[in-house]
């Protein structure tokens, strides 16, 4: 059995990796970091500097898969006809001057760029530049990169680069950027990428920080408690009631109890959970005033808040499951061993609840054990309407706020939970059914 478990775990790794890549592609190719930044920073005029700062804080300024080392160390918006700015450099090394493409077609194209450094002798420009360090640009210039070098000097003083930039007319959205090529090791080149920082790390459960700056891992740990406080009692109570009721109905097969119970089950299945939620809040919270309408508290004070969501969760799942379990029990009760047990004179309830139940558990378990890990994930609807600060509302809020980091983290966690659930199902199978052997 151990070898089986180990083998399943090893199979799980490529699955998780594949899910990770898919989610990554979905998130970052459909929605580029620039779009995310604009969505978050709102409708008021957003400057390119604000977008850069936003991306930087969330590591979204890094390249997708491979980092050649280029790091932006200065940017100059060309607001006037003549613009000059000085940037402290990062010492000797390779640099690039990047002329960004104009944002709107009406914006003025760049005319000339001039580069100087102090001390001047350390600057080495490419052949595009003349002796004074000036280059003329043609009007149809797309984004251009000019490579340059700063020689390493003996003095520890960092040279300063001066860029002068002229246009035909002021163009506030036209930018000139200065980049520095940092020498990076191979490991750094592969790990300082969006894919590693925001995707691969999740395989190690390092979820990083949300787009709001909170630690996702710590937040998840805080929110699991409230989620479990609803899903666990709902699960246990629900299972207990469903088996009891299904068994009871199975005993009365063919009678009026069976008939009406079936109708009731189908009715309950057809009603949406949202109706139960609002109905429950209306009836028990508002009209009968037995429980608070919504809210949450920790510790023993939380009982009154948890009562209604648990009841609703149980009732919402009751219809479908009772119907299903009833079918299973009916099948079991027609077996020979049941007839034998009755013939031996055992009381009916022992026959049902001790012998038949054990065998009926096999199909029940396949459906039930796989949902166990999702107890941690909470219920989106319940937590939202009852203001429970659990995992479900975490996911819902992240989606509403377009917090991609959190949604990615929760999807990754969800895929892990699902795999665990499937593995647990297989293992539980062996425990319950002695005929099954896993190799």
């Amino acid at each position: 059995m151990m070898t089986y478990i180990i083998r399943r775990c090893l199979y799980a790794i490529p699955v998780l990796f594949g899910v990770n890549i898919l989610v990554f592609l979905l998130f970052f190719f459909v929605n580029s970091p620039d779009h995310m930044a604009r969505a978050h920073l709102g409708q008021k005029r957003v400057t390119p500097e604000q977008i850069d700062a936003w991306k930087r804080e969330r590591l979204l300024h890094l390249p997708y898969f491979y980092n050649a080392g280029w790091r932006r160390i200065g940017s100059l918006p060309a607001a006037e006809r003549d613009n000059t700015a000085e940037f402290p450099s990062a010492g000797g090394g390779e640099y690039a001057l990047v002329i960004e493409a104009p944002e709107t077609p009406r914006a003025s194209p760049p005319r000339t760029v001039r580069l100087q450094s102090s001390p001047p002798e350390r600057l080495m420009l490419s052949a595009d530049f003349d002796a004074q360090g000036t280059v003329n640009l043609s009007p149809e210039t797309p984004t251009r990169r000019f490579l340059l070098r700063l020689a390493s000097g003996a003095s520890p003083e960092l040279p300063v680069l001066r860029i002068t930039f002229t246009l035909a007319a002021p163009a506030p959205t036209q930018r000139v950027l200065l980049e520095y090529k940092e020498p990076l090791s191979l490991l750094a080149r592969l790990t300082r990428t969006i894919f590693f920082q925001r995707s691969v790390k999740m395989l190690a459960f390092q979820y990083g920080t949300s787009d709001d700056g909170k630690d996702i891992g710590a937040e998840i740990m805080k929110r699991i408690g409230p989620s479990l406080s609803i899903t666990m009692p709902a699960f246990a109570l629900g299972l207990f009631l469903e088996i009891l009721l299904a068994m009871g109905i199975a005993v009365y097969r063919g009678t009026y109890v069976d008939y009406w119970a079936l109708i009731l089950c189908v009715l309950m299945m057809s009603i949406s959970t949202l109706f139960y939620i609002m109905g429950g809040q209306l009836m028990l919270g508002q009209l009968l005033r037995l429980v608070p309408i919504s809210g949450f508290d920790y510790g023993p004070y939380g009982l009154k808040f948890v009562a209604l969501p648990v009841i609703i969760a149980v009732i919402a799942g009751l219809g479908g499951n009772v119907r299903f379990y009833r079918t299973i029990f009916l099948e079991e009760m027609q077996r020979d061993y049941v007839r034998t047990a009755r013939a031996k004179g055992m009381p009916e309830w022992i026959v049902l609840f001790v012998h038949a139940l054990k065998n009926a558990m096999i199909p029940i378990l396949t459906g039930v054990v796989v949902t166990l890990p999702f107890l941690f994930a909470g219920s989106l609807l319940l937590e939202s309407f009852f203001a429970i600060p659990g995992m479900g509302s975490f996911m819902l809020e992240a989606i509403q706020r377009q917090d991609f980091a959190v949604v990615q983290a929760l999807v990754s966690l969800g895929s892990f939970l699902y795999i665990v659930g499937l593995l647990l199902t297989d293992i539980s199978y062996t425990i319950v059914d002695p005929r099954v052997h896993l190799e």
Partner: protein
């Protein structure tokens, strides 16, 4: 049925009895009953409570009660006026010319080379107790640690063992203003302030240089594996801003500081009332910008430190936020006087009493409006706004057309209060368009005709439940320049009706006549394009209504709807004829509304806020003269002339000033639905005993139906039980 079964059933019955008797729908702990606590909700988790970064209403809700700028808005005066808060008096700007000579307000604006605001603070104002002030015996700060050290495992700075307080100093205000230029904080109003405060832009560059040096040094020390973001996340860069000189903000002495602006800007005082200009001591900055604090997630963004009446006691933004009375709050009294309307509302009953009245304020996160509304009705929230789906439950239109509460709410002694928002929603014509734009008589008459045809009053009735007043000009009530009565109406669109005691819209015949005079007689009809962002089913009803309005005078309205980004591009490029737009005041000065019609602010040429691209040289001239004036009769006259010009030109269809409706329980006093400023929590007073009584009376649990349901359930199983019993006993 066996004995164990019976016993089990009996146990369950007793358990049910116990549970049901303990039932209550009170969401608060019993320890909170009868205490002087105010309960309210917030809608979304606040992102930044750092005064240099906070800019949304959920955030201001909290920090307005914790931080104290030098001035504040008077709670009860109308129109809004500034009064001192931590300052001794409202600072008066001193204007100087380039030689340093003092100018008078009558001197021409071009001579002004500098404006100095000297602010003197009141002595004896203390901060809340905070760990950042705690000092050891030898004078070193207990919690200002080196990188690598760590704090005990706490969730809140107040849980740290040592705390202290200190007196407010002018240096704290200066420190915060410097923080507004900090490159790592990205203050949203930095671009605006850089235009006015002397040396502000250069100061930011100075700080950028310092940060670059520090980063270069760290990079050299760390070598190849230097990762700037990870490094600064765990070990943030701290700049002690006391060491860097900002020429535009100088400390004069312990309690006095001076701000120098490069040009005259009277509205700067309103900025001084915003949380951006709160005091932040250097000790607090040092405390929060260290690795030990960041490791425990203690940042100024989450745990503010102020001199205000309240401090942040519990911060669980996905559940509840609690403000508690600041024990060191300086003595402040309820205002002694106010405007006649506010006096009539009973808002002067507590005049002269010490503030704040509340002990604690609890804000609970409620995202869904239905539970929020129901808990308000049950008495668990002290006030509420009215969302449109519950509007009918709350408000009905009385016989004389005003709004009053339904009987259900009046039975609970709930109050309704209304106030006009300093906001205007309008329809802008594109003055650069060849069909609707232009300044000749014909085009003017066309726009006037369309303005008369769009029945704003009907819009307010149908789509806003009557919660708004029709705008006569860009300036809403409560702002200087707004005029009540017959002189204040827009004579182009309205006539004064003595019986209504209000403006009456001119009829459609007038509109048709104006349209004909504009050149659209029979044979030639107008097709008007209305650009909008794509909306849901609610907007369909609105667009149908809009079409009907213009169809009544023979104008065909074509709606062009696109997604929001495309819509913004269209407006930016001047590619529209008519759009709906809005503006909410940053501060209560008419300049903040009239600048929307100032020619040089046209959106197409300078990306300014003048979406209609209106450019009338006479209007521009008057605006330049009036924009920086102090409120006076002369200024009022200039504004009247400007409004007359704009009303004649009709670049906008003056739309709606929305009216805020607030519902308040009887135990809550000193409330106003909409105020500038927002540091109003200190004025609120609660009667906890009345609240407790009302809650108990309104929320008696009804357990009858539960017992009934249980009984029915048990009875329903009796025939089944009997039949099992019989089946067991049956001998084959």
């Amino acid at each position: 049925m066996g004995k164990p079964m019976l016993m089990g059933l009996a146990c369950m019955f007793i358990l049910a009895l116990v549970v049901v008797s303990a039932c209550t729908n009170n969401p608060y702990r019993s320890s909170e009953a009868g205490r002087n606590i105010y309960y309210d909700t917030f809608h979304e988790e606040p992102k930044h409570l750092d005064p240099a970064r906070a800019y949304s209403s959920d955030e201001y809700l909290l920090i307005n009660q914790i931080y104290e700028p030098v001035v504040q808005y008077h709670y009860l005066q109308h129109p809004y006026t500034l009064v001192p808060l931590t300052a001794v008096s409202v600072p008066v700007p001193q204007l100087y010319d380039k030689d340093g000579q003092l100018l008078s307000p009558d001197d021409p604006a071009e001579d002004v080379a500098g404006v100095i605001y000297e602010i003197r603070l009141r002595p004896g104002i203390q901060y809340q107790d905070h760990a950042s002030f705690a000092q050891a015996q030898d004078g070193t700060y207990r919690w200002h640690l080196q990188p690598g050290a760590s704090f005990p495992a706490v969730e809140h700075p107040d849980a740290l063992p040592a705390k202290d307080t200190r007196e407010l100093r002018a240096a704290d205000y200066v420190y915060q203003i410097k923080r507004l230029a900090h490159p790592l904080l990205e203050c949203p109003i930095f671009p605006v302030l850089a235009n006015y405060i002397e040396g502000f832009a250069e100061f930011r560059q100075l700080l950028e240089g310092e940060i670059a040096h520090i980063r270069a040094a760290r990079r050299q020390a760390a070598g190849v594996f230097y990762n700037q973001e990870a490094d600064e996340r765990t070990n943030p860069i701290f700049l002690d801003l006391r060491q860097y000189d900002l020429p535009g903000v100088q400390i004069v002495d312990d309690l006095t500081f001076r701000i120098t602006l490069t040009k005259s800007y009277p509205q700067f005082l309103y900025w001084l009332a915003m949380p951006f200009f709160s005091p932040v001591p250097w000790e607090v900055d040092r405390f929060y910008t260290q690795s030990a604090a960041v490791a425990r997630n203690l940042t100024l963004d989450r745990f503010p430190v102020g001199t205000g009446p309240f401090k942040l006691a519990i911060y669980q933004p996905n559940y509840r936020v609690v403000l508690r009375h600041n024990a060191h709050f300086h003595p402040e009294k309820y205002p002694e006087e106010g405007s006649p309307e506010n006096a009539a509302r009973g808002l002067l009953a507590d005049r002269g009493k010490p503030l704040p009245f509340l002990e604690e304020a609890v804000y609970v996160l409620e995202k869904e409006s239905v539970p929020r509304w129901n808990k308000f009705l049950q008495g668990y929230y002290d006030d509420s706004e009215i969302s449109s789906d519950v509007f009918d439950q709350a408000v009905q239109v009385s016989a004389v057309g005003g709004a009053e509460l339904t009987d259900a709410l009046r039975a609970k002694h709930i109050r309704l209060e209304t106030d006009v928002a300093p906001t205007t929603y309008y329809y802008a014509f594109n003055m650069l368009d060849e069909v609707v734009g232009g300044y000749d008589t014909k085009k003017r008459k066309l726009r006037q005709a369309l303005s008369i045809a769009l029945n704003i009053e009907e819009y307010i009735q149908i789509f806003l439940n009557g919660r708004g007043i029709g705008a006569q000009s860009p300036i809403p009530p409560g702002i200087f320049g707004y005029q009540e009565g017959p002189q204040g109406i827009n004579p182009i669109i309205y006539e004064w009706d003595e019986q209504l005691r209000g403006p009456r819209r001119k009829d459609l015949e007038t509109a048709k006549r104006l349209l004909a005079e504009a050149g659209y007689t029979d044979g030639k009809s107008l097709v008007l394009f209305f650009d909008t962002r794509a909306g849901g089913p609610e907007s369909k009803a609105f667009l149908d209504w809009l079409r009907k309005q213009f169809a009544a005078i023979g104008v065909q309205l074509q709606v062009r709807s696109t997604d929001y980004n495309q819509f913004q591009t269209k407006v930016l490029q001047g590619n529209f004829q008519l759009i709906q737009w809005g503006w909410s005041a940053d501060y209560p000065d008419p300049e903040n509304f009239l600048f929307l019609l100032y020619g040089p602010n046209a959106k197409v040429t300078t990306q300014g806020e003048n979406a209609a691209n209106y450019d009338n040289p006479r209007f521009n001239e008057l605006f330049r003269r009036a924009e920086n004036m102090v409120n006076s009769t002369e200024r009022a006259a200039l504004i009247r002339d400007m409004l007359a010009i704009a009303q004649e030109d009709a670049p906008w269809i003056w739309g709606v000033h929305p009216v805020g409706y607030g519902l308040y329980h009887a135990w809550q006093h000193n409330t106003k639905p909409l105020t500038f400023g927002g540091n109003t929590l200190k004025y609120k007073r609660i009667d906890p005993d009345l609240r407790e009584q009302s809650r108990v009376a309104w929320n008696r649990p009804i357990t009858g139906p539960l017992w009934g349901a249980l009984t029915v359930l048990i009875l329903a199983t009796i025939p089944a039980t009997i039949s099992i019993y019989r089946r067991q006993r049956r001998t084959p």
